[in-house]
């Protein structure tokens, strides 16, 4: 018998083995390579992300508004712990033995579980060999007491971290705060890992990407005993962290702080805008809080619940989100629309007929300018009636529908009834009613001007945010246009955002503004004007007061005090809106003097009207609790 053919059996064995191994290697190293790379990273190639400190914030005068301060975390690696003396360790960090054990458990179980598709089991994310912060956000002082003794407790070490610091303790509602990213945020954006900070409100949130900068990445090869062995492939893949460029605000932090002081013990807002640029100079929301209260997890856990429960709701950014009726300040726009629509002219006069709507005692207004000066309710009732019911069709109901849509269109061009494109979150649109709105409310054909007349004098369904109202002041200052109000003047040296350099023109021609602006001057400077208390020596100011009637559940509350203004009259530097809730007084009593103080402070750099200042600062209004 010849067995030579059997060599092929053996050759086949060898070749098939070689092929099989080749295929398996191809599968592992080429097809399935990503999984194995991940596994290798998990085992040996630790990817360490180094977050840069967040961008620093400056005000318009180069003063540091938000900076970073160094803090320390006390890190823990369970694998490296050797016979931890929990009593002694607890003593060192100011905890009892049970608290130490409880904290370790909290770390272990707080990591949660993940679903492992290989084993089809839930497995804990916690790993003995990984470092976890045992204590967070210790100050240098606290840490310096612990560090010298740490060599007695293997498995614990210090780690530097940085946290926000606010030297001025002002502008909390503008700046916002940081908090640890939620699981949803981590899932959404690969940038974030557990315990990473993310902007939670204000510009910190709006400009999150600019604030956070770019993380650096360091690849470290670690041994099975978790020692660092060196950088992976000589640091070929390492990148350095890049801090975001400094963020320069249009804000004047001193003015902001001053405004907050003025509104202490009152609920209300001050919004000041530089008319020529649209930069927001100050945005006071009162009451507010010290932004340093919400720095770091420890502080947030302690202070956030208090702020939430505070009946004066300090976390609520009123200038952006509080919608008020504008009251008489609204008359300025009514007059402008009336002239533009040519239903009145600048010298139209209407008698002050108190049988239509209540008014105070003043001579009959013979022109738009006088009407503004006297803030004559029946006058603007008549003007608005002419705008809404222009007689374009026979039916007064249908006519009102057409009219109000024309009117609403004008209002939108003033940035009202829509969200401004301001660089902050939490903005609201306010309300400018149109035919759709009233048809829904009363039913089509069931309403005409007389039904909705309160909108003539800025009551009823009209609602504005203080930011929008300040923007109206800026429009008056600019005689017909505005740049969208914004906080950030420049990031690094990049300048303002493109859309903040485009003029938004109102639908009212520049020529009509003169009559209204002159009226505003008289409001402050002429006898019979409503804002005599706003006068500042040597500065020509134009303003308009408002006294807003308001109700809660049909019960009349004390009036809100409103004032908008800009100054100086020619080449204005500042436009302002002040809103103080439930003062009981008119706009001229509280809001106007407050606004004048801010204007004085901004234009002259100091406040000489000491009496006025004291009166405003000391006042406790708005049913303050």
């Amino acid at each position: 018998m010849n067995f030579d053919a059997r060599r092929y059996v053996i050759v086949t064995f060898i070749v098939i083995t070689g092929l099989m191994y080749g295929i398996k290697l191809f599968y592992m190293q080429v097809v399935d390579v990503e999984n194995w790379k991940l596994e290798a990273q998990r085992i040996a190639e630790k990817r360490k992300e180094i977050p840069p400190p967040r961008a620093v914030v400056f005000d318009r005068n180069g003063k540091k508004v938000v900076e970073n301060k160094t803090y320390y975390n006390l890190m823990m690696v369970e694998e490296d712990m050797v016979g931890l003396d929990t009593v002694a360790f607890g003593k060192l960090v100011g905890m009892t033995k049970d608290e130490v054990l409880a904290r370790i458990d909290e770390i272990k179980f707080g990591e949660g579980k993940y679903y492992n598709p290989h084993t089809k089991k839930k497995q804990t994310n916690y790993q003995r060999i990984r470092p976890y912060p045992f204590l967070k956000e210790l100050t240098a002082d606290e840490m310096s007491k612990i560090v010298p003794h740490l060599d007695r407790f293997p498995g614990f070490y210090e780690e530097i971290t940085s946290m926000r610091n606010y030297p001025y303790a002002s502008g909390a509602n503008i700046l916002g705060y940081l908090a640890e990213a939620t699981q949803a945020e981590i899932d959404n954006d690969k940038f974030y890992k557990r315990a990473d900070k993310i902007g939670r409100a204000g510009i910190e949130r709006f400009y999150e990407v600019e604030f956070r900068g770019e993380k650096g990445v360091k690849y470290i090869v670690t041994s099975a005993r978790q020692n660092n062995v060196g950088s992976f492939e000589d640091g070929k893949y390492d990148t350095t962290a890049v801090q975001g460029d400094g963020i320069i605000l249009g804000l004047d932090i001193e003015l902001q702080a001053y405004g907050e002081k003025l509104l202490q013990n009152k609920k209300g807002c001050i919004v000041a805008i530089e008319p020529s640029t649209g930069e927001i100079l100050a945005m006071v929301s009162s009451p507010s809080y010290d932004p340093n209260l919400l720095v770091g997890r420890k502080n947030i856990n302690k202070n956030y619940p208090k702020l939430v429960e505070d009946p004066n709701i300090p976390l609520f950014p009123r200038p952006l989100a509080s919608e008020y009726m504008p009251g008489s300040t609204f008359k300025l726009i009514q007059a402008l629309i009336g002239m533009q629509e040519e239903v009145i002219s600048h010298d139209s006069g209407f008698p002050c007929n108190k049988s239509i709507v209540g008014c105070h005692n003043h001579p009959n207004a013979q022109s738009v300018t006088q009407a503004v000066q006297y803030s004559c309710n029946p006058y603007f009732y008549a003007v608005t009636r002419r705008i809404i019911q222009q007689g374009k069709v026979k039916s007064s109901f249908r006519d009102s529908e057409i009219g109000i849509d024309i009117w609403a269109n004008y209002m939108h061009s003033f940035g009202l009834g829509l969200k401004l494109n301001t660089d902050i979150t939490g903005l609201r649109a306010g309300n400018i009613p149109d035919s759709k709105y009233y048809n829904k409310w009363y039913g089509k054909g069931n309403w005409k001007f007389s039904t909705i007349r309160s909108i003539s004098i800025g009551q009823g369904e009209v609602q504005l945010t203080p930011l929008q109202l300040a923007n109206v002041a800026a429009i008056m200052a600019n005689r017909g246009w505005y740049y969208t109000p914004h906080f950030v003047k420049s990031i690094g040296d990049r300048g303002p955002r493109i859309d903040y350099t485009i003029k938004n023109k109102t639908l009212v021609d520049r020529k009509y503004f003169g009559y209204v602006v002159e009226g505003m001057r008289r409001v402050v400077h002429e006898p019979g004007g409503t804002a005599a208390m706003a006068r500042i020596p040597n500065i020509v100011m134009c303003g308009k007061t408002g006294t807003v009637e308001n109700y809660i559940h049909g019960v009349k509350q004390k009036n809100h005090s409103v004032f908008i203004a800009f100054a100086p009259m020619n080449n204005p530097k500042i436009a302002i809106a002040v809103f103080i809730e439930n003062t009981g007084g008119g706009g001229g009593t509280w809001a106007a003097p407050a606004a004048s103080l801010v204007i004085e402070k901004y234009i002259t750099g100091e406040v000489k009207s000491i009496e006025k200042e004291k009166r405003i600062m000391d006042a406790e209004l708005s049913n303050w609790k």
């Binding site: 080749g22 080429v30 790379k37 290798a40 492992n116």
Partner: protein, 472 residues
């Protein structure tokens, strides 16, 4: 025929070239794995790479010695050599155990593994014995003697214990198969004990290698598909042993096989087909049921190890969570290999398989394939697999061109031993073979294996260069 005076006249330069290439790859890999910045020279004998180079030099010198001795000497002295090897294997049992095995024969700091050299002794004696009889003369006795030559060193190795080398000795079964040795006389005696069965020959005894393959296949399949208990919709609430799946599979294969045989065989042979079917079925059931039961009675950790290898479930990943470490070595080695990717991480850039990081244990010896594959990627690992396959096929080619049966048996022994080492070693690095600790020939760090494989190959080269002088 002119007697070839030159030592290198019929020298197989190709085999020698591949030999050198593998050795060189091995040394560079050891250099990468064990690199110590304090002794960066590859010649520093304080480091593994320096010592390995020394072993290479010693091996080449031994190879030269082998070449200077006439090949007839090895044949003549095959019994003393074999007995000498057995003597060493006995001696080693009195040595203190290292890592739980008495595998090292130590002279001071210098130690050798007699198990490595016993392969050569066994190969020489087996070649001598098998070339001494005509195939026609073969009977039960020749098979038993051949088996005994293999079994004695295996037994001694089992006492060390060294499972890896023990398994490698079964490589000689392939050699016996190639030479046409048959277990038929023994199998026939057993089979014909069954009443009513009278076979003149069995396919089983002759083709024991394919049969062995089938047996291994059946065992693996039994473990995989019998692992999960069987739940049938027809019998709600009832849980059956997973083995019934295997039973059903065997039954259907038998029925189909029987029908095919009926169709192929003549009518007279119909009864034979029936007998074969019944016997085959009975034996398979016996085997698989036995394996199934035996597996169930294994201790937990051994069961886990087998389950892991079979891929029935994977170990829980996560450092520090690997229970008894059953899967630790394998998963680490596989991670090193897999993460190498297509082009590898670069020379001396292995992060998983390196002595410094120590994620893969024994990555300079049993797991040396993993640093190679991690640093050279698929390109490198494919080159190595092709190189070894080519090396093995070259030895088969050499074997088949021998006129002397002695030479051929020896050449096949070398081929099959190397094949085992190659298949098991690389296989366990890529998760295809359970962890059996044996070195990658000519590649792994270690003097004994380097020397023994070198001697084995140089002896083959010597026999081959003198092939024209040998007559049988």
């Amino acid at each position: 025929m002119r007697k070839n005076d030159s030592i290198t006249g019929n020298f197989d330069w190709i085999l020698f070239g591949v030999y050198l290439l593998l050795v060189a790859f091995g040394v560079t890999t050891i250099y990468s794995v064990a690199y110590n910045p304090d002794n960066p020279s590859i010649f520093s004998f304080d480091e593994m790479y320096g010592r390995q180079l020394m072993w290479v030099a010693v091996s080449l010198f031994l190879g030269l010695l082998v070449f200077l001795i006439d090949s007839e000497i090895y044949r003549k002295f095959s019994i003393p050599i074999y007995i000498f090897c057995l003597g060493l294997l006995v001696l080693v049992l009195f040595m203190p155990p290292i890592n739980g095995a008495r595998a090292w024969l130590g002279f001071g700091s210098f130690g050798i593994q007699p198990g490595e050299f016993a392969k050569i002794g066994t190969a020489i004696l087996l070649s001598n014995y098998m070339s001494s009889f005509n195939v026609k003369q073969q009977n039960g006795q020749t098979v038993l003697v051949s088996l005994a030559i293999i079994a004695v060193p295996m037994l001694l190795i089992m006492l060390q214990p060294d499972a890896g080398t023990f398994v490698v000795f079964t490589a000689f079964l392939f050699v016996m198969y190639r030479e046409g040795l048959t277990f038929d006389p023994i199998v026939l005696k057993l089979v014909n004990l069954i009443p009513g069965v009278k076979f003149k020959s069995t396919w089983v005894g002759t083709h024991f290698i394919p049969i062995l393959f089938v047996v291994v296949f059946l065992i693996v399949i039994t473990l995989i598909i019998g692992h999960k208990p069987l739940v049938l919709d027809y019998f709600p609430g009832q849980v059956f042993s997973g083995y019934w799946r295997m039973f059903a599979a065997l039954l259907s294969v038998t029925v189909i096989g029987y029908l095919v045989m009926r169709w192929m065989f003549s009518k007279r042979e119909g009864r034979r087909a029936f007998t074969i079917a019944i016997l085959g079925f009975a034996l398979s059931v016996l085997l698989t049921a036995g394996v199934h039961t035996a597996f169930k009675s294994l201790p937990y950790h051994q069961k886990t190890r087998i389950e892991l290898w079979l891929g029935i479930y994977e170990a829980e990943p996560g450092t520090g969570n690997v229970g008894d470490g059953a899967d630790y070595n394998r998963s680490r080695a596989m991670t090193a290999v897999g993460s190498g990717g297509f082009t590898g991480k670069g020379y001396r850039e292995a992060s998983v398989a390196s002595i410094k990081t120590a994620h893969v244990p024994e990555c300079e010896t049993d797991f040396i394939f993993s640093p190679w594959a991690e640093e050279r990627g698929f390109l490198g690992s494919a080159v190595l697999v092709i190189l070894y396959t080519f090396f093995l096929l070259r030895i088969i080619t050499i074997a088949e061109r021998q006129r002397s049966k002695y030479n051929r048996v020896y050449a096949y022994s070398v081929a099959m031993i190397l094949f085992y080492h190659f298949a098991i070693n690389i296989g366990m690095n890529i998760g295809l073979v359970p962890i059996i600790g044996i070195p990658l020939p000519l590649f792994s760090y270690g003097g004994s294996s380097m020397m023994s494989f070198s001697i084995m190959i140089f002896l083959l080269l010597k026999l081959d260069s003198q092939r024209k002088d040998a007559l049988n």
